[in-house]
Symmetry: C2
Subunit: 224 residues, 2 copies
């Protein structure tokens, strides 16, 4: 009776506890970008290999990530439950209530509000009527694993060299890994300084995918 009730709370708590560790959240965010090896994830987060491996197993135990073997590599990717939704709810709560988060975010992303992010809905409309061009500033390998249809991939590091590929007369919408990924913020700042009309997509690739919207892979929509 009361037993079953508190058992449910225990289940919920176990899930929350898995998210209750910064390193795991960071691993999860990286895994949400696409499949990654343990070694890569350890690199990306700065964790030791064994430590990353252990955290990934914790994440896997509750289904936040799944894994498969590819030769001698073990590849981890996001699980198929509503994980992104859960992380989104966490983020929204944090933004609402935590001065620290708001402070860090706005300090870091120099005046985030002035960048006026574009919503998914608005993006779809603007791509339809040709009034915007979509730019993916993530590294090539992440792009290859999946991207928004029709996006042009110029990794942030290559942006300076490849300015010629960007239109000066059409608005650009940039996106990257998610709401806290810096790449698109920095791309927007850099390109605005050069006179481009550019805005940021509110969401990143994982949110787009989680919403069940179509996803391109290499070969589609990215011909040079």
């Amino acid at each position: 009776m009361t037993n079953a009730k508190s058992e449910i709370f225990q289940q919920f708590a176990e899930l929350a506890r898995v998210l209750g560790q910064g390193n795991r959240l960071e691993l999860l965010e990286h895994a949400a970008q696409g499949e990654r090896s343990v070694e890569r994830l350890a690199q990306l987060t700065g964790l030791s290999l064994a430590n990353a491996s252990q955290h990934l197993q914790v994440l896997r135990r509750v289904g936040f990530v799944r894994s498969r073997r590819d030769g001698k590599r073990m590849l981890y990717r996001l699980g198929d439950g509503p994980v992104i939704e859960l992380l989104g709810a966490l983020r929204r709560y944090a933004e609402h209530s935590r001065a620290e988060v708001r402070g860090i975010v706005s300090d870091y992303f120099n005046r985030l509000d002035s960048l006026e992010p574009v919503s998914r809905e608005a993006l779809v409309k603007r791509l339809d009527d040709g009034s915007a061009v979509l730019l993916d500033v993530r590294p090539e390998d992440e792009f290859a694993l999946g991207h928004l249809p029709g996006a042009l991939n110029i990794p942030f590091a290559d942006l300076e060299r490849r300015l010629a590929e960007l239109p000066k007369d059409t608005q650009i919408v940039a996106y990257c890994r998610g709401p806290y990924c810096v790449l698109s913020f920095e791309a927007v700042a850099a390109l605005r300084a050069k006179g481009y009309d550019i805005r940021r997509l509110e969401d990143g690739f994982p949110e787009w995918k989680a919403a069940g919207l179509p996803v391109g892979t290499v070969g589609a929509g990215n011909s040079p």
Copy 2:
């Protein structure tokens, strides 16, 4: 740079960690029903007074609950951020991915699916056209602190004695504290056995309130 990023993850993790404890989730659920004293919450959850107090302070530190003093009592209630939404996301994830949760839920709430819960939207429509009567089976004190407008309050314990107040010719929609509150499940089971046409509201009082829908207090919509 990377520092600010992992600082954000730390912030998120702290929030999740607070939810990562069954007792705290249970306290939170009770506080979500309305204002309650520490003593009451300790009773409801079976925790020691000091322990409950300490957990409540942890919950307060991150804004999941707020407190105010009333004489010598300290009253705790739900915080004003999107807490219910966060808990809902947690619940939905759990339902999607955890066989344990699904098992417990369906074992416990004898064939939950056969009870065909009514959605909020459907309820509003049916109350409008008079094709349903709304029944709140929570204890009187919880009802007094807030309830769905127009609801009739018959605490589950009093149901047998007060059957006369219920219509046999109109459908009844019962609700209680939330998706995992047993009262409405049991009320539905009991009244169905007696031939009433009764269904369960999908949500409980906290979800209704969190959705910004109107809430009644004693005196409104409950006149005998």
